[in-house]
């Protein structure tokens, strides 16, 4: 029974200000909701989904599974073995796409991968092979994998293997190449290919030996610590990278590789502030994959972009992608580059925001607020705003400046549609011309229309 009559009544008002005013004149404690109409045309679907008797329990279960997941780095292996890729299978970021619609950086990365795999000699031959189906493309997400930016993963590249020991579930991600002219930003020049060759020949095997010697590395624990050390896990991974290196260096030194290889590998990892991104991303995917396919759940389990489309997947709607045109980020540019050089949003790295990191943890990373928006106050407001669209707060990712409040976790499609607040994504920017590489970094959101589309599908799935 309600205890409404036995407690001191506080009010939360949504709607007509007149009633809130009247209550305040009567010395009532009133919290006013700044209510605005939901995204246009969504009220019927919203009502249907809100009425779904499965929703609250399904969302609670989805959040529980994400919180319960533990990501351990257990191995480093070639992608062909881990992902079951044939010699002509190449994976990419975002929802599925064909060559005709692929953006410049994705095309550039595919060309580089084709050269790297020896499928072509001249990068320009790649288009024809892909169009004839002699190179097959698919989404990383369809193979329990994620890839930053173009996300291009080919059979000979090495991948991190992450595992949740409780469930045995595994996810994968390629090794990070560093910044500047790199494959994931669409560069495919000889230096890019040379670096990839070294990574497969030396870096991958050294890391494999170290990880196998170590047994495993607790990536979730590093994520939790790095959020308290100024990383948000998407555009800043400096503390995470150093902690990973700290875990691996002793085992690397104990391997049988020549000390020059070990030193080169350690220098490469330590010199690349984003090296940890490719471990953090599959850790996020591991947690979110655990929350997939819960009937009635309105929680987002993946946000991913291929440079042309922004794709969204929701727990309660299985593997369906809800897509819309990827927006172009706003932010700061490297050197002479400007907004006209930037490609629309690309990469699977928005998996970090989906898991409560990146833009959602912006308040934890004051060092990069200028890079991605402005003042520290903006960063705090950014994270606070994300609580409006999330189901819960992360048990382990605590933000010191918010009194160790957990980061906003579990994007709820209904809340996005109701408030019109879009998930805030921190991201790098690729040049739109194939071969350019990185041109900047900044902020971006999904296209708004994919959320009403997902809501429509959720409404169609209700049994009420």
């Amino acid at each position: 029974m309600t205890d409404l009559l036995n407690r001191d009544v506080e009010l939360i008002t949504a709607g007509v200000d007149l009633f809130a005013d009247a209550a305040q004149l009567q010395a009532a404690r009133v919290i006013r909701v700044d209510w605005l109409p939901p995204m246009p045309g969504t009220e019927t679907d919203l009502a249907a989904v809100m009425a779904d008797p499965r929703r609250t329990a399904a969302n609670a279960e989805a959040v529980r599974r994400v919180q319960a997941a533990r990501a351990m780095l257990v191995d480093v292996v070639p992608a062909r073995d881990a992902l079951g890729l044939g010699p002509r299978d190449i994976l990419h970021a975002g929802p599925p796409i064909d060559w005709a619609r692929a953006s410049g950086p994705l095309r550039g990365a595919l060309m580089g991968a084709a050269v790297f795999e020896g499928l072509v000699e001249d990068p320009d031959q790649t288009a024809a092979l892909v169009e004839r189906g002699e190179i097959t493309l698919d989404s990383c997400h369809h193979h329990h994998a994620v890839g930053p930016m173009a996300g291009v993963t080919s059979p000979s590249m090495w991948v991190f293997v992450l595992e949740d020991p409780a469930t045995g579930r595994r996810t994968y991600c390629s090794l990070n190449e560093g910044l500047g002219k790199v494959l994931r930003y669409g560069a495919y020049s000889p230096e890019v290919i040379t670096r990839l060759r070294w990574m497969s020949a030396v870096l991958g095997p050294v890391l494999q030996a170290a990880v196998r010697a170590q047994g495993s590395v607790d990536i979730t624990a590093i994520l939790a610590q790095m959020v308290q050390m100024g990383d948000e896990g998407h555009n800043r991974n400096r503390a995470g990278t150093l902690m990973l290196l700290r875990e691996l260096v002793p085992a690397m030194i104990n391997t049988d590789f020549p000390s020059s290889d070990i030193a080169e590998a350690a220098r490469f990892v330590g010199g690349n502030d984003h090296f940890f991104l490719n471990v953090g991303m599959p850790a996020c995917k591991l947690a979110l994959d655990a929350a997939r396919d819960i009937p009635g759940s309105t929680m987002v389990v993946a946000m991913a972009r291929n440079g042309t489309d922004f794709g969204l997947q929701v727990s309660g709607t299985g593997n369906e992608w809800f897509t819309g045109p990827a927006l172009t980020p706003e932010g700061l540019f490297l050197g002479e580059y400007g907004p006209e050089d930037a490609n629309p949003d690309i990469g699977d790295s928005a998996i970090t925001e989906t898991a409560g990191l990146g833009g959602f943890a912006m308040a934890a990373a004051p060092a990069i607020v200028r890079f991605v928006g402005g003042s520290v106050a903006d960063a705090l407001a950014n994270t606070r705003r994300m609580y409006e669209i999330t189901l819960s707060e992360h048990d382990m990712f605590a933000v010191p400046v918010l009194d160790f409040r957990g980061t906003p976790l579990g994007i709820d499609v209904t809340k996005v549609v109701r408030t019109g607040i879009l998930p805030q994504i921190n991201t790098g920017m690729a040049g739109k011309v194939a071969g350019t590489g990185q041109v900047g970094a900044g902020l971006v959101t999904p296209p708004a229309e994919i959320f009403p589309a997902a809501l429509r599908a959720l409404a169609g799935s209700t049994t009420f």
Binding site: D8, Q24, L25, Q26, A27, A28, R29
Partner: protein, 275 residues
């Protein structure tokens, strides 16, 4: 500034009557205390303060609106009395006239007579109180316990407790208030204590504390005491939460009130008083 407040019905007469002057008794971030010429104390409290039966309660918390900032500077309070009546309390504060408007009434909890406490519940309360300092000599409480139902011994023990302890509501008075309230609900004889309060409280302790004792004589108390009493008598209020909330009142007040309740519960039962 004008601030609406919810007022205790115990203050209705003075609030709705003709305007009269009131003097300052004290001010803190969470409370302002005023007294009329005839000795009625008004407490203006923030939303997060314990609701005294003689209070006007605002919608804001002490953090949101520290009340002490609204009161005149301490050295100016004597010269700047406030006024009460016509459904408001008003004074000139450091940044202009402050009007606390009596917007709506609430009834303070009243302890009803006659319900036996559960022995196990008393044990639990006793164990919880044991870890708290009540701020006065335990011998004074022991004296009240030893007095039993003897009116003269009660009178003496209460006389020793009244006004004992620092602050606007000395702990000794809280023990006595808890004792009176406990005796009321559990149906225990406290005539000697009642006489002592009626005869001595006016001079033996602070005006606010004397008024709270008068409320206790009528069974009026803060909600935390009412909830704890209901829980002790097994009236379906969760006991743990009720004890925690009672002991959280003030620095020592909650524990002192609980000590009084326990002392009263140890008294012999008046025949026919408990159902």
């Amino acid at each position: 500034m004008r601030v609406p407040a919810a007022f205790s019905t115990a203050l209705r007469t003075v609030l709705t009557g003709p305007v009269q002057p009131v003097e300052w008794l004290g001010a803190s971030p969470s409370a302002l205390y005023l007294i009329t010429r005839t000795g009625t104390v008004l407490a203006i409290l923030t939303h997060d303060a314990a609701r005294l039966p003689c209070s006007l309660v605002l919608a804001s918390t002490a953090a949101e609106l520290p009340l002490i900032d609204l009161a005149p500077e301490p050295d100016r309070r004597l010269a700047a009395p406030a006024s009460v009546g016509a459904r408001r309390v008003q004074w000139c504060g450091p940044s202009g006239v402050v009007t606390v408007a009596a917007a709506r009434a609430w009834a303070p909890p009243v302890i009803t007579v006659g319900a036996a406490p559960w022995p196990a519940a008393l044990d639990q309360l006793r164990a919880a109180v044991a870890t708290h300092d009540i701020g006065i000599e335990t011998t004074l409480v022991a004296q009240l316990a030893r007095a039993g139902a003897d009116p003269e011994a009660q009178f003496a023990a209460v006389a020793a407790l009244l006004g004992r302890g620092p602050g606007l509501t000395p702990s000794g008075d809280d023990v006595v208030a808890g004792y009176l309230l406990g005796a009321r609900v559990f149906g225990r004889p406290v005539s000697g204590a009642a006489v002592a309060v009626a005869e001595l409280a006016g001079n033996a302790t602070t005006a606010l504390s004397a008024q709270l004792l008068r409320h206790a004589m009528r069974g009026e108390c803060i909600a935390q005491v009412a909830a704890a009493v209901a829980a002790l008598a097994g009236r379906c209020t969760p006991l743990d939460g009720a004890i925690d909330r009672l002991l959280a009142v003030g620095h020592t007040s909650g524990a002192a009130l609980a000590t009084g309740l326990l002392t009263a519960a140890a008294l012999p039962v008046v025949a026919g008083a408990v159902r």
